[in-house]
């Protein structure tokens, strides 16, 4: 390898650090500071994207290397797997920085120096988490930088009632998670400060059975806190994500919680000794947590009518899908049957694919809600409604994001949810609980749909802003639209071309050494089982030849729907009927007004009542 990836990494981190030092001094000139922050972050992020590109696509992952910072040496590791996470973090950083320039104008009463001090540091911390290769010194530094920077970003609006309290709660729980993870490593026999994961893995082999349970249990809970796993996610995630400025919420939900997934996968697929590791047990535990998380998180989301809280609870729900994918992959990998073993490949691809999709559509949703907040000053779905005509671009991109998260075919969420659900259902022919998890996931995605019909319908369709805000709401400026449009295009691409992304994820796992799932990717020739079908994916597993196990071809579905639309349009025009716009008809004796319209909190009330026991209820 000619290019020194670690050199680029260090320069990018240095650039981020420089941005944190320089930009706060400019913060009195708000716009200028925003542009400077964007330029510096974008420069650093492009270097990081370069690393990501090399390590993912060219298989140029490197082995672990120790880098000296004065007297301490910290192990770093850039392989395809961390390259993927570097990629999504730096990409979202660019989007969020660009969006921030104009968005922060919306807080004229707050000084911006702390925002532009913490923004680059937050990115730096996240990059640190996914590149350091230990669980002591380097991990602690990265975790603390990420946590403390994000703490100040979350409490940005510190004059609002309750915000500081919620931010403090976030800080305390993240420190607790850190303590759990570091404490977990202490159960390993003979562990020393600054051990690389390789060394830790070797020492795990000689660690006794009950200590091993403690190690993995504590690490799972610690990273579970970060990933929003039930019941830990509910403690901090909705409060923290809903009070942060929207570009920060997009980063929190889009990428920060993904570092928890990174930790879980690294722990359970890399940091495992050859013997004494009960992957099946941990797989069942993780998959069960995933299934519970996705159901509870999504049902709680359905009850929200604060748009940002709604997205935040859905982050918990969607993380549940990812965790379910990870857990199922671990279960399948340790099963006896060859058929099920092969499905573990599909499940882990699904987990990573959903990570990518969730980053994009959840980022987009938070940015869209941020734009609504910017334009109208409220994020309460009971007050909003009818923005479609006033903010058409935001409405369209929010519609794309809503269809994506709800898993409509040919939008991005579908491809990854399909991957996770189909692998679970197919494996379920031998393991009953997996098919049950698959059904729960399918049922839950209908609830997600309900929730996003409400979000879209009550923000952009229906009516309400004309009475609660004003008639003169304008679309947000271009610098806030561009990131959203880019993300919306990505949503479509990721939904339409799943095979392309399958190829990338297969490469990532094939080229990242040391994981227990790597033999599945390199040992068998996957070309025979995962087949390109019009850029869609068709899976055929051995043993049952000539029978497609599962298939999703969004392009064909799209084509069929478009043909149907043309037919419907022709049919509609066939009678030559004239069209006229008419006011809403409420039985003739009353006009529509704020008192007789249907507000968001009334939606699905019977269903919400039946599911009161799941918690997360909202007072009227």
């Amino acid at each position: 390898m000619n290019i020194d990836l670690y050199g680029i990494l260090l320069s990018a981190l240095a650039l981020l650090f420089a941005a944190a030092v320089v930009v706060p001094f400019l913060s009195r000139k708000r716009k200028l500071a925003g542009w400077m922050n964007f330029i510096l972050v974008a420069a650093a992020a492009s270097m990081l994207l370069n690393i990501s590109f090399i390590s993912v696509f060219q298989g140029g992952g490197e082995t672990t290397r120790v880098i000296q910072f004065g007297p301490v040496g910290i192990y770093f590791l850039i392989d395809g797997f961390s390259g993927f996470f570097i990629g999504i973090i730096s990409f979202m950083a660019i989007m969020s920085a660009l969006y921030s320039i104009q968005y922060m104008e919306h807080y004229p009463d707050y000084r911006l120096w702390s925002y532009y001090l913490c923004f680059p540091l937050f990115i730096l911390g996240m990059i640190g988490i996914v590149t350091v290769d230990d669980l002591s010194i380097g991990f602690t530094v990265a975790w603390q930088v990420m946590t403390i920077a994000s703490y100040f970003l979350i409490r940005f609006e510190y004059r609002e009632k309750g915000n500081v309290r919620n931010a403090n709660k976030y800080l305390i729980l993240m420190e607790l998670a850190w303590i759990l993870i570091v404490a977990g490593t202490l159960f390993i026999d003979g562990v020393a400060m600054g051990d690389s994961l390789h060394a830790i893995t070797a020492k795990l082999a000689s660690t006794g059975g009950s200590s091993l349970l403690a190690v993995y249990g504590l690490l799972l809970v610690g990273f579970g806190f970060k990933a929003g796993m039930f019941p830990f996610g509910q403690l901090w995630l909705p409060d923290a994500h809903s009070i942060a400025p929207s570009p920060i919420s997009a980063l929190l939900s889009g990428v920060m919680i993904k570092t928890g997934v990174y930790g879980i996968i690294r722990t359970f697929f890399w940091m495992v000794p050859r013997e004494g590791y009960t992957g099946l047990l941990w797989g069942i535990v993780i998959a069960s947590f995933g299934a519970v998380t996705l159901f509870i998180g999504t049902v709680q989301a359905l009850k929200q009518h604060d748009a940002k809280r709604l997205h935040a609870y859905h982050s918990i729900g969607q993380m549940g899908y990812i965790i379910l994918g990870v857990g199922s992959a671990l279960v399948m990998l340790n099963s006896g049957s060859e058929f099920v073993k092969l499905l573990s490949v599909i499940a882990i691809i699904g987990a990573l694919y959903h990570t990518l999709n969730h980053t994009v559509f959840k980022g987009l949703l938070f940015l869209s809600t941020g734009s609504v907040l910017y334009a109208t000053g409220t994020k309460d779905l009971n007050k909003l409604g009818g923005l479609m005509k006033l903010m058409p671009v935001t409405a369209v991109v929010a519609g794309i994001a809503s269809l994506s998260i709800a898993g409509m075919p040919s939008f991005s969420g579908f491809a990854s949810k399909w991957t996770i659900i189909s692998s679970d259902v197919l494996a379920g022919s031998q393991m009953m609980f997996l098919v049950m998890f698959g059904i729960v996931a399918l049922f839950t995605s209908a609830i997600t749909l309900a929730s996003y019909v409400k979000f879209f319908g009550m923000t952009f369709a229906s009516s309400g802003v004309e009475w609660n805000v004003s008639h003169t709401i304008r679309e947000v400026p271009a610098t806030m639209l561009i990131p959203k449009i880019i993300l919306a295009v990505l949503c479509m691409l990721q939904g339409l071309l799943p095979f392309l992304y399958y190829g990338i994820f297969i490469d990532i796992f094939k080229n990242s050494d040391g994981s227990i799932i790597q033999p599945m990717f390199s040992g068998v020739s996957l070309d025979e089982y995962i087949v390109n079908s019009v850029m869609g994916v068709s899976v055929t597993v051995p043993g049952i030849k000539d029978l497609v196990s599962s298939v999703a071809v969004p392009l064909v579905v799209m084509l069929v729907i478009v043909t149907g639309l043309v037919f419907a349009w022709l049919l509609k025009r066939s009678g030559g009927a004239e069209e006229k716009v008419a006011p809403t008809w409420l039985c003739g004796y009353q006009d529509l007004n704020d008192k007789n319209r249907y507000a968001a909190h009334n939606m699905y009330s019977a269903f919400k009542k039946a599911l009161r026991w799941t918690g997360g209820n909202v007072k009227k």
Binding site: L426, L442, A568, A577
Partner: protein, 299 residues
């Protein structure tokens, strides 16, 4: 030839669906001691609506929703292996795609309703969505029951394998659950809660008229026929005559029987409240879960 089967699917559905709707109306009328409209009345209704003035709420979504609803149900129908014959498109989708596509139709109804700004439409769409959440799993599990038996989610494979191992306990339970859910699938009494003519005036469709309403109406009767046909394809043992046309005709005869059942059920049962219906659906979900569980163990 494969491509031709798609055309047959579309034509059979487009041509026969209004007829089956007419049968329901006729039977309902007879049960209520009325003369009732002629069986072909739904064709007249559609034709007339297509020529009437189109009142609109003025937003793009309002106009787009009826087209999307019709397109989505047609999209589902083309993938169906009618007459036990997989067509050219069947191999490009699996049952999960079908399940998600079916919800797309529901979503267009809801979006159209919400963008019409009418309060009754919003009430109706809220109920429609609850019904969708609660009965869709029954459909999904019907497919999954077949899928776990054959270890494939392909449409043709999983649909034809539900009854493959004979009528064990799991198939009987699933069949019962599907039949009970059928009235809710097609939005008939006692589960016509979303539309509830005399209560919330057709709910989601209150603001629709003319061609827009014709498209929605067509969507509804096609959806109704899809669920009835699916029951026949999945649960009635195949009477394969070897001749494709005869197979389709036999299936349509069974569909007619199912429709008579739907009509009788609808005409003799009063509407439930949404919270009562929800409890009923919960039982159905539990029963279908049990059926899937049993089938994994081969019972």
């Amino acid at each position: 030839m494969d491509i031709l089967y798609i055309a047959v699917n579309i034509l059979v559905f487009l041509l026969l669906a209004p007829l089956f709707e007419g049968v329901i109306r006729k039977i309902t009328a007879r049960v209520q001691s009325r003369q009732g409209p002629p069986v072909i009345q739904p064709y007249y209704d559609l034709l007339k609506l297509l020529g009437k003035q189109n009142l609109s709420a003025g937003t793009v979504v309002f106009k787009f929703a009826p087209m999307l609803a019709l397109a989505s149900i047609l999209g589902v129908i083309v993938f169906l292996p009618l007459g036990y014959q997989a067509n050219y498109l069947t191999k490009y989708a699996d049952v999960i795609t079908i399940i998600y596509l079916l919800t797309l139709g529901g979503v267009s109804v809801l979006l159209g309703a919400l963008s019409s700004r009418n309060t009754y439409a919003a009430i109706g769409s809220s109920r429609e969505m609850i019904t969708m959440i609660m009965v869709e799993p029954v459909l999904a599990m019907t497919f999954i029951l077949g899928a776990v038996k054959v270890k494939s989610m392909g449409i043709a494979a999983s649909i034809s394998s539900v009854t493959a191992g004979g009528y064990g306990a799991s198939v009987i339970v699933m069949m019962a659950a599907y039949l009970m859910a059928l009235q809710a699938f097609v939005g008939r009494q006692p589960f016509d809660i979303a539309e509830a003519e005399v209560e919330i005036l057709e709910g989601p469709f209150i603001e629709y008229s003319g061609p827009n309403y014709a498209l929605f109406k067509y969507y509804l009767i096609l959806k109704q026929m899809f669920y009835a046909a699916l029951f026949v394809i999945v649960f009635i043992p195949p009477f394969k005559t070897g001749w494709y046309g005869a197979d389709v005709l036999i299936q349509m005869a069974f569909v007619l029987v199912v429709f008579i059942g739907i009509a009788l059920m609808g005409a003799t049962h009063p509407r439930l409240r949404i919270d009562q219906a929800q409890k009923f659906y919960a039982v159905l979900i539990a029963a279908s879960l049990a059926a899937v569980g049993l089938s994994v163990y081969g019972i």
